[in-house]
Symmetry: D2
Subunit: 311 residues, 4 copies
Amino acid sequence: MHKAFVLCCVVALLGGAGSAGAQDWTKSKWGPNDEIGAANYMTPELVVKAASLVKTGKTYALGIPVDSTTPAYPPRSFKITVVQPGQAGIPGLGPNKATYNDDILETWVGIGSQLDGLGHLGIEHVYYNGNKLLDFADPNGLKKLGVEKVPPMVARGVLLDMAAYFKTDVVKEGTAFNVKEIEEAAKAQGVEIRQGDVVIFHTGWLSLIGKEDKRFAAVEPGLGVEGAKYLTSKGVVAVGADTWALEVIPFESKNLFEVHQILLAMNGTYILENMDTAALAKDKGYEFLFVLGQPRFRGGVQSMINPIAIR
Amino acid sequence: MHKAFVLCCVVALLGGAGSAGAQDWTKSKWGPNDEIGAANYMTPELVVKAASLVKTGKTYALGIPVDSTTPAYPPRSFKITVVQPGQAGIPGLGPNKATYNDDILETWVGIGSQLDGLGHLGIEHVYYNGNKLLDFADPNGLKKLGVEKVPPMVARGVLLDMAAYFKTDVVKEGTAFNVKEIEEAAKAQGVEIRQGDVVIFHTGWLSLIGKEDKRFAAVEPGLGVEGAKYLTSKGVVAVGADTWALEVIPFESKNLFEVHQILLAMNGTYILENMDTAALAKDKGYEFLFVLGQPRFRGGVQSMINPIAIR
Amino acid sequence: MHKAFVLCCVVALLGGAGSAGAQDWTKSKWGPNDEIGAANYMTPELVVKAASLVKTGKTYALGIPVDSTTPAYPPRSFKITVVQPGQAGIPGLGPNKATYNDDILETWVGIGSQLDGLGHLGIEHVYYNGNKLLDFADPNGLKKLGVEKVPPMVARGVLLDMAAYFKTDVVKEGTAFNVKEIEEAAKAQGVEIRQGDVVIFHTGWLSLIGKEDKRFAAVEPGLGVEGAKYLTSKGVVAVGADTWALEVIPFESKNLFEVHQILLAMNGTYILENMDTAALAKDKGYEFLFVLGQPRFRGGVQSMINPIAIR
Amino acid sequence: MHKAFVLCCVVALLGGAGSAGAQDWTKSKWGPNDEIGAANYMTPELVVKAASLVKTGKTYALGIPVDSTTPAYPPRSFKITVVQPGQAGIPGLGPNKATYNDDILETWVGIGSQLDGLGHLGIEHVYYNGNKLLDFADPNGLKKLGVEKVPPMVARGVLLDMAAYFKTDVVKEGTAFNVKEIEEAAKAQGVEIRQGDVVIFHTGWLSLIGKEDKRFAAVEPGLGVEGAKYLTSKGVVAVGADTWALEVIPFESKNLFEVHQILLAMNGTYILENMDTAALAKDKGYEFLFVLGQPRFRGGVQSMINPIAIR
């Protein structure tokens, strides 16, 4: 019954006039069982080449600290509570007086620096590789496309400093990064975007946190629809930015989060949000070894992350 | 008032007969303001050297998937809930019919693969660098020693295959790894433990999850008190294992979690728990580039992690 | 856009062949702004009469204790955590050494003894008084029909002892209570069902908790579709039972939770689940003063309750 | 070990100079196994008498709506999330198109209108009837004194309108209610406080919520130490107020929450906080039938409540 309904909707969509769905996006080029998408672009050869980019030994935490004040897409929130179980009124446990803190987390995963897994965004309840919501979205954890399946993301990282490109500290909201901007910025930096790369935009937007939280979370500069198609055509593994949603907002059309749909659902390309790129940009660290090991919540849609850049 | 009481207790402890407190452990060798301990051993030179270990391009996720069945130290628990906000009964948002899953996490941080921060274990309510609980343990997040302060952990990783050393698949619970065992296992593998390393024990214990959960979580083979002092004297950054608590249980004496105290409180050495070392051990990957970017929960005691080994 | 879609669906439904929607159920007889439904049946006169039923002074807690083992409709769960903030290692706060426990709740509201508010069940995303989901279901709390709006439920309570009626301790699952059963049981007890009453069925089913949890939560005896219509025609305020969902399961037809739809959505009649009726039944307490003050979670769908019966 | 330490502390306390501990408070007059304290004062006779107070049939919800903005004692917080499990993109479940909302609660119990159970406040980690923290405070729920054990609280309610007594709308913070104030206010109203009563103070303080939240939660008028002893000597079951902590703040001495200690720990007398007394006061409803059925969280310290007053 449910399946019939969804199917009917999908058919309607596919027959629609220029809606987000391309002809055969529901079939992954990595086969009907594929759940990891663009992570397939990673190869041992590329890992070795990426590791060879390490020259200075300088490391960068791309993840930001997150707490209950971190701006987030509604109704997301974060709360951590520190407790000392069983230690009230005693000097400690055992003759060695062991004492300890523990912490409890009540949070939406999509807050702070985050990896969007392939089960995050869909088109009319159809997700990457044609997976239908009713088939895989168990309330206790996705049965397919769970974030625990994403392999170690070890790749050549490329930073595109869009703030430098636009000669500003903070790129204005609504500024779209499409083919022209991406190619010109890359050229200005002398870098090339290749298959297997992780591409990250620096816009300066993250610097608004704590200063202009409302503005930060309402709009942003970012990737445009054309740019998203361009990057997926290049075969990148993931695209990130120092913004909360990667894509340009206000959106370029009436479509909502269409860049998310193109990257995640249609191409299996991962999204990295709220990446702290300030130090990399300052150091002109345009090429680096990118390493991401995401916490592996089984059936998770997203993961709370802190990728490391190494030069 | 509180401070006076704690102080009195500490004095009593220090004057005690052979309790865990060494003479001056409350003063870090990195100065009175240091909050990162053995992470100070990492240097750009060592990062470059560690990166040069990458030869095959093979990568390993050391983090395990975690769900509500993952065995954990009581009363720790984990729950993830997948939701589709605002999408009941509609084909999607906007003309492009955007749909999405989101996930909510209710969890204790100390479950699954985890990093123990320096605010985790103390001696009579005194923690690394002499920090007293009442001075830094706010219920909404530690004011000092929070896990968000741990810098990117990029180091030479050394795997000690204790299962191979003991010629077994799963090392027996209660088996302590002290100087003899560590030195002999390292020698057998042809590796040397150096300052700035991350040392991880493979015991096979993790293979019990899902088969013998009660046994898994009740006891384990692991690091002994002498071994812990030996490793800290070598200047390692972190010590990990494929067990839930790193240290040997039943404990070697009546002291509880004394190895945790030696590593975290007395030496600022990090602990990595539930590391999935099976593939590394199988590949005899005894030396590798170790990269850990932990989610940066502000004021967090621990973090949920997935370190990456690269060879 | 969303509204158009839902409207279209509703029209389709209303035109359907014998689906649950009656002709004008989306319009409350208490006016277009009414949010409390059958609670309107309560009057001061009836409260005074109900209070006059108190003869013995015996009181009954109709709520059951709830903990993490309480069987619940998936994926609902319950967890309580007791902590002692700021008291580790100290004798207490202030010269008077005040110490305290606090508790943290992570729970789905629909577990244990619960009140179903009028925002709980709908028909094709339309709820009591024609409220459409997209108009009132904010993720941070319902904007209409929230459980905080339910007035004090003080009424004549009527217990129908269906276990006695069927001459058994535990009425068998799948046994439907319709007009015949309700009228005969009431007659056998010598009670009459009147406007403004709260009617509660005793089936013995609750006694399965802790013994046959799976059976308890999978099926149950209970109110049938005809019975539900009969009770709403009588003008009762609420209907409850010592079962987890009030209505008979397996359902009487292919319709799912149709009794919930009839009571909540179509008539604004409240539902009380997991009522502990054993002591009342044993005492033949067929008429009593029923008092329910539900915790007033703003925008809540349900509430965790413990109604009191007084005889 | 732990027990020895606590015992030592208790001895120290009892030997102290005039600290909060009276000679034999650790022994309940209802016997060594008693866990319900002053609830023992309730009798069927008193219930019948209390029910006879119902004359007008008017009912009052004493509980307030609670949401994430409700001021609370740090680090307490409240969050409710409304979800529609399994309904994204479908018209409903089954041929009858059943749809539903559910709600998830992440909250500290001690927020909004609350019942303090006897396991809430102690003196140097010793609680009502001499229960020592280490003996009963399991992190997963109190093993003794849990709030699920409190019997139905059905009693004569007495409102003391302290705002009227002080001829003001909102009694000033720091104003203590002791014997003089209580006796004079009762006399002015023509009511007498008797054994088995539930006594509730109206101060107008609750009207500050939403207007002066910081002031509301920082200080308050309320019961003084002498007044607390006076009320327990009268044999009341519970004492409440339209304030967040019942007792006067700033405190009368350097002792912290001493009134809580006297009521809960030393006498087993319950506390009701954030009671909405405005309508009762306006109606001069000084005597009424008080009915409280608290949600029965097993092992809970407190409960989220909405007592009903009926006149």
